[in-house]
Amino acid sequence: MAKIKINGKEFEVDPKKNLLEASISAGYDVPYFCWHPKLGSIGSCRQCAVVKYRDENDTVGRLVMSCMEPASEGSIISTDASQAVEFRSNVIEALMTNHPHDCPVCDEGGECHLQDMTVMSGHQTRRYEFGKRTHKNQYLGPFINHEMNRCIQCYRCVRYYRDYAGGDDLNVFSSRNRVYFGRANDGVLESEFSGNLVEVCPTGVFTDKTLKKHHTRKWDLTTAPSICTHCSVGCNTIVGERYGTIRRVYSRYNEQVNGYFLCDRGRFGYEFMNSDKRIKKFVVNGSFDGVTKESAFDFIVKALKGKKIIGIGSPRASLETNFTLKQLVGNENFSVGLSHKDYQLAKLAIDTLKNGNVRTPSLKEVEQCESVFVLGEDITNTAPMLALSIRQAIKNITKTKADKAGIPLWNDAPAREIIQDAHGPLHIAAPMASRLDDVANSTYFSAPENIARFGYVVAHFIDSKLSLPSGLTEEVTSKARKIASDLLSTAKPLIVSGVHCKNEDVLKAASDVAQALKTAGKDVRLSYTFEESNTVGAVLLDGKSLEEVFETKAEVLIIVENDLYRRLSTEKIDSYLSKFEQVIVLDHNCTSTTKKATVILPVGTFTEADGTFVNMEGRAQRFYQVFVPESDTIESWRRIAQIATAIDKPFDQKNFYDFTESLVINNAQFTGIETLAPPPDFKVQGQKIARESLRYSGRTAMKANINVHELKPIEDADSAMSFTMEGYHGQAPTSLITSYWAPGWNSAQAINKYQIEVGGALHGGDPGLRLIEPSKTNFKFYQSNPDAFKVSGSGLKGVPVYKIFGSEELSSKAAAVKERVSESFILLNSKDAAKADVKADETIEISLNGQLSSVKVLIQDDLADGLAGISAGYCGINPEMTDVTIKK
């Protein structure tokens, strides 16, 4: 710790930080543009000037850029010396000379860092009278809007996009005051993390194009803390609503999970909630004409009388919803809604993490690892933000280079100069090339069986006591030997695998590699990805698989938030469903399953309900209802409770908190999740936390066309937040942060004020509770010794190929994401394509385990012989896809 003096006051700060970070952490408002806690400083905007003094006797001092000066012992600075204040106001005036007169039509307005800094720096009146430089804009795809005139040349966008996120299609062009930030040509931004430009760019150059369709100012949004529902990473988000539709998703800072960022699926997938495929009415026997809640429930009561019920929950529904359903139908009749195979895979992964002696990391821990070995996953498409963290992890080892040269890591330009393109080891073994390959040291492409074997070879070279699979080529063994030595050469290796190549041996091999490293004394981490936002929670809750539960004889089936046709083949599900007298489906969007329902009950999405998801790390995270919809929708768990009441078996639990509490009482492993959020009667200064800002507008007009009398606002019985602007607006407990705002800081950069130290943990700790810790008791090496993959005579073996846009159920219903979803496809190498006599881009008929689909042929030469990559999760694609035959 170093002692420094800011404005005459003494502070203890980390000498590894710079003076800007130190000043902001100390609570001073120093304006800045180009510095970002995750990107470091480059000193290009000159906005963060302060006066630094040589010693106590120095009264003159000199101007320095606070972001470029280390917070070294004994530094004395003043942030409000007149020299600095004047300099900053001149700088911002110069920055604004070309700025367009756009605020009223700029989507950034009201949460614009440039607006904030202009006010903070005291620039008011434009004196510059000459012409303004202008730029043409580019089309950047369905997610990002480009308005280049507003650029202040801070370089944050390219530094984030290229250096941090590993993209290469955004760049800076031209020279002097003409510099242009965009693509070489108009076109879709390729990075899966392009949406973060919206938050990284301090101006309105890059804005959210989906927000533009229904533009709303930050102050007019009703917002609540939420959890992304589009994959198992469980990024923290803030979701905003206005006039009954969801308007946008912003990242919610959680140091342990997603930090400042989100992937594009999480940011832009929200539009499924506004889609015309939403179910908002009660449907009985295929019609909603004349059906009311009462008549639907009358029907249900008759249908359920004296009948045996089976309940199918869902890995995309909250813990509470699954638990309530389980309580309704009884343990014996409850399924978590996964196919037997998927259930076994997820269970194996969870058991391995629970019983082993290797810890599964949070994304923050991932970013601290030094070498990475990925088995069988295309992380960028299956757990996107994990891929972004891996990109950071492999930079760690090279950072020592900068350290040795005495360059602090925040000093981005020289640090990069020294590091160049070097990075720590990343090795990928997968069925085919993936997005992360661009930074991989080695890749090994083969069938899942062979990936598992390859994993065991690596494990053997780490710990020679482990057996070496037989029949390997020299090329494979030498690759594996290199990987083993790379992993052993670092103190913190990370092994990543997951359920997406649908092979248990791959999971087991990954575990063995990790255990071997642990035995070798390494501080190793093991990370498994899962398919859906609450797969881990559902499997922990325990229940049967679909195949098992359908063996039970029953007359009525209740399916909650689950499209069974995404779990098993159409033939199987059709035959299962046909055995029931009644199929009651609770869901929020139309699916193939709702088409078969005799009764559909509308329920809320994750923004219309409270709930808990457990992410891939085993972290239970709470999400909150954002608004009360005016349609018939209510929370799934509340709907299930209504059914219980209707059939005279009412539950004791009344509100969300009660359900969470009894969940904990019934399942000790969830102990602690009741403390994830303050109870509903929690108050700060006698008030609930407000979901709406103090400037929220239009409340006496927005519904005046329907009823000129304003109705009493609805109270939230489930959480400690109010649905209106009445309530507490200061800093709420971290699990209840509805939006980032501080006086003078209207943009998301107000996050600084919520952190103990900029870029660090939140005041009050990061929300979430880990439920999975390695118990170290039953740890064993699996050594499953799988057989090598053999090309079978005629058919091909299908391997699922996941795409960030298209493979996930809910986001692919979102308008903007839909534009990025390709047709269903089959990947073949040229040899197999020639053998089957099909050509690239041809649409052909294939059979997947007997179910026909029409798909487009894509040639991928790194795919092994005998394999066919199939677009997983796409519409009409059989989830069981092991045997592929090409019909043409």
Partner: protein, 171 residues
């Protein structure tokens, strides 16, 4: 005693003073243009809607009686999809007019908007939008702003240089 007499004297004096009472509704009061009465939405000199849906009036309104939704036409021009003022709540403070960056929303000297039925005081865009420019003549926001719209491409706004040639090599 003296003060009583003075009071009586004053009252007497007022009896002969000029009358301020106006025989409304036969006679109308002559109000200044800046009087704060019924609110209108005006058009720019080209006859287009001035409002760009920036929400500033709504945010400034102390009784929150303005609500609108911004939308864009194909040319990128932003305008309100709906614009509603609940005059049964409006206190005619004029903050909206002050906040408006485009001179779109203006208060007028018309105060005769009483209704028997409160819901008739809810005005939609059709009711608010007038044909002219109101009190502020000549201002056209889109000519000053940097956004391109039909008929005004980049660099064609007021005080704007032609768009940069990114591929230009001149120093």
């Amino acid at each position: 005693m003296l003060s009583h007499l003075r009071s009586i004297g004053l009252a007497l004096k007022h009896t002969f003073a000029k009358r301020e009472t106006i025989q409304y509704p036969d006679e109308k009061v002559d109000l200044a243009a800046r009087y704060r009465g019924r609110i209108v939405l005006t058009r720019d000199p080209d006859g287009m809607e001035r409002c760009v849906g920036c929400y500033l009036c709504a945010a400034a309104c102390p009784v929150d009686c303005i609500s609108l939704q911004a939308t864009n036409d194909e040319s990128g021009r932003r305008y309100p999809e709906f614009f509603r003022i609940n005059f049964s709540r409006c206190i005619f403070c004029g903050y909206c007019e002050e906040a408006c960056p485009t001179y779109a929303i203006q208060l007028t000297p018309d105060y005769e908007i009483s209704e028997y039925d409160r819901k008739n005081l809810v005005y939609e865009k059709e009711d608010l939008l007038i044909a002219g420019q109101g009190k502020q003549h000549g201002y056209n926001f889109y000519r000053v702003a940097g956004m391109a719209i039909t008929g005004k491409d980049k660099g064609e706004g007021q005080n704007e240089l032609p768009p940069v040639d990114v591929k230009g090599l001149m120093p």
